[in-house]
Subunit: 368 residues, 3 copies
Amino acid sequence: MAAARTLLRHNPLLWLLLFVPVLFIAKALAPDAHTMLFVMSVLAVVPLAALLSHATESVAAKTGDAVGGLLNATLGNLTELVIALTALQAGQYMLVKASVAGAIVTNSLFMLGASFLLGGLKHHVQDFNRIGARLQASLLVLATIALLVPSTVAEPGLASSSAFTQTLSLGLSVMLILAYGLGMLFSLKTHPELFASAEHGSGDEAPWPIRVALILLAVVTVLVALVSEVFVESVQEAAAAFSMTPAFVGFIVVALVSGAAEMASAFAGARRNRLDLSVGIALGSASQIALFVAPVLVLLIYVLGPTPMDLQFWPGAVVMMLIATLIAVLVTNSGRSTWFVGVLVLMVYVIFAMTLYLLPPVSNDRAA
Amino acid sequence: MAAARTLLRHNPLLWLLLFVPVLFIAKALAPDAHTMLFVMSVLAVVPLAALLSHATESVAAKTGDAVGGLLNATLGNLTELVIALTALQAGQYMLVKASVAGAIVTNSLFMLGASFLLGGLKHHVQDFNRIGARLQASLLVLATIALLVPSTVAEPGLASSSAFTQTLSLGLSVMLILAYGLGMLFSLKTHPELFASAEHGSGDEAPWPIRVALILLAVVTVLVALVSEVFVESVQEAAAAFSMTPAFVGFIVVALVSGAAEMASAFAGARRNRLDLSVGIALGSASQIALFVAPVLVLLIYVLGPTPMDLQFWPGAVVMMLIATLIAVLVTNSGRSTWFVGVLVLMVYVIFAMTLYLLPPVSNDRAA
Amino acid sequence: MAAARTLLRHNPLLWLLLFVPVLFIAKALAPDAHTMLFVMSVLAVVPLAALLSHATESVAAKTGDAVGGLLNATLGNLTELVIALTALQAGQYMLVKASVAGAIVTNSLFMLGASFLLGGLKHHVQDFNRIGARLQASLLVLATIALLVPSTVAEPGLASSSAFTQTLSLGLSVMLILAYGLGMLFSLKTHPELFASAEHGSGDEAPWPIRVALILLAVVTVLVALVSEVFVESVQEAAAAFSMTPAFVGFIVVALVSGAAEMASAFAGARRNRLDLSVGIALGSASQIALFVAPVLVLLIYVLGPTPMDLQFWPGAVVMMLIATLIAVLVTNSGRSTWFVGVLVLMVYVIFAMTLYLLPPVSNDRAA
């Protein structure tokens, strides 16, 4: 209980945990109040994601770098994975694809840009280890190319094209996971000295005892799954109530909600002039989604699901991912940043958000 | 008068001022000699643009950095603004869009490339302050993304799409102007030390007294407006006479004419091994057009005009702007140049010019 | 004969020369055994390409840098040129275009990536002269832009469009050859000191006497032409037998076969920690194909051929060339490499190969 109290003091976000029981009660009493349920599920997911991330790090801290890295990759985006699987079970393939693309774009533009801006407002010029940033950015470039090619060469109207996209997506998924694994081998085993000052994870709070962490991991994952179900059920109608387009919800809202906990860590790091941490979290999350979550979803759905999911995205989403990735490459190339770099990166994000918000519904139907 | 004589000696371009009265006389005597009027209006605009630019700098020199920077941004591309407004009044939206895109491409490829080549033919290797260049190039990248997104996600055939593009263009315009303002805040107020050796404007001639400058500013702006009117009226028929496509005229001819004065300064700087100056003028002009002139046009036309103008460009123009911007980023990244870098950049410009010159008329109708 | 024996000992590839007579005998006995003839012609081309390349270097070594460079450019890709001319005579325009695009992609991704990987498995971190690499990469970017623009702005369905593409292709071809020549002038005459440690060609074996080299050059060129004829005749049916798509054959198989000899040199250089050599061969070959072989083909076919060939490529091929070129720019920017950089570059190549292998036949018909 002492640990819990310390935790609450350091993470005011956790007070939001109160919304978890409130949500389930509200759901039982008023199952059709979609807008209210949507808002509550958003508020409830945020602290759960924070707990999940801290529990994962505690387990990882106990197991040594290599296994810890693997655990972090597997569990670090558990929130995203669970939300996505819930949405897929509800047949919302478009929402899932939009949220994968949105998570990549949000992490590499919003999280990175806001870190640069918040850090730059406090510190005149900030330096960071650009080798770590470059590794993550290179992995992102690879993933974006993998997502770009099927969308570019496939001919929309053809039956053969759909089988082609499906087979290609399976092959690409296996390759992306392999690239992710080799990237870990490179950064943890063969060339760790290049990544000297880059630290992943928050590293600030004492890790929990392993048993506590494992139990929390199990309990919180179940809770996230239950909350996600409400979220996925209510999101479309709530979006309509706020006059948000489905593309905007998938790309922006879901991505911001499921990344909230990591953003808190990244921004805190930037304020304390530890930009390595912020850049590592932002680009690391983006590349985990692109090279681990998305391909695992494709393979899981192929094995489990009724209809397979492919990696063919709406062209607009591909363009946005491509731009976000290139911006990440350009911006991390020099290894230093100021507030204005943050402004520029955030503005690109605002351009995308504005475009998706205004997108007329016809395009929207295909926006995934 | 002494000032005027010194000016003429330093700026042989100003002898072209004789074409201003000649043009108006010719217009009165032979209103249908479009080709002749076109050639004369081109020759008359060049010295007026030079005067306008020098008068602006004289006013800016008197007012201190911050206001001076703002004045430079507002008035520095007055020629482009006046020509564009005249063309918009004549309903030539396509010409205006082509000339905006063309100015960005011409400044960041032709002006930059020719500066590198002319400087490199005289000096073995030239260095320049790459931080200033990188700021302008980053602003250009932002602007290009802003112009790319509406053209990418909009569906051409839909009515809803047109309203979407219009609203989006207004939002993007406000954002680009904001980015431009923040860029000035960054380079003039918060981080001026990064831009140490970069100087904008020619800085070589003594500034004029403020009263002379202000009167000249007013008189010359009116003259530019009158000359532009003849230019815009005659350009299409003259183009046909020279068998130039409308796309070529808008993209290449208008851009070269209205940038002639700045090009003279940039090339002179490069020859004197002051490449900071050349790069600053070339990329600074390009980003002023993209982040100030184009959005101001959109907002002005929205308030004043009968039909609003949007920021949706012909895909070919977007591709060219994107390539020009990326080339500017790549080429200024190292902070040094040789003649061959200039050749490569100029060749990209020649590829674009050749393509637009040969473009068959069907595509041409949409080329804006 | 002593030279021949030494050569055989250093180049075990040359044992494959036995397949040259075997191929012609097989062709006479079983003219319809396409699959067997295809495999044999592949095996016979590889050692001939190696001989051709060594003979060219021997001649170049005798003539001094400038003429030698020119000879290397003209004859260095003789294999590619002869195969392409044979295919064009057989009317296989699509195969030729695919193999040009494929050679650019294969050299700048597969040859470069495999060199980084093979070198990196032996050496922890490898450095190379990035100025030489950057020159070749810049030339490649120029060539890719030249190939991108006609494909982007042309409207597929129009008759005027075809004439436009044809005229534009001729203009672009002249310009690319000019750029290639100026690049040689820059690297050999005006700024050779920048390229200090970069050496082109293998430079390891003693050059042959000039008479031997010239005779070999003539004899081997004729042999390559004869073998290519069998190769081009059998490739499509053999591809069907191996269930390879025509796009895959043109892009991947032809490119790998005709570059085999250069690859052997590049990989050997990387293992001996002479990465300058590997990068020079990989990017040098790619830019020779793009700025010399392809434009020479266009001009030759315009003068000789019945139907002219243009530089308009299948959009998928353009995207692949563009990505390959940008990867080459990004990867050579830092001047150092590790095994993981090689893995990433190779994975992009595998993505392309996988896509082309799986491409359904409808798209395939246009894939050139």
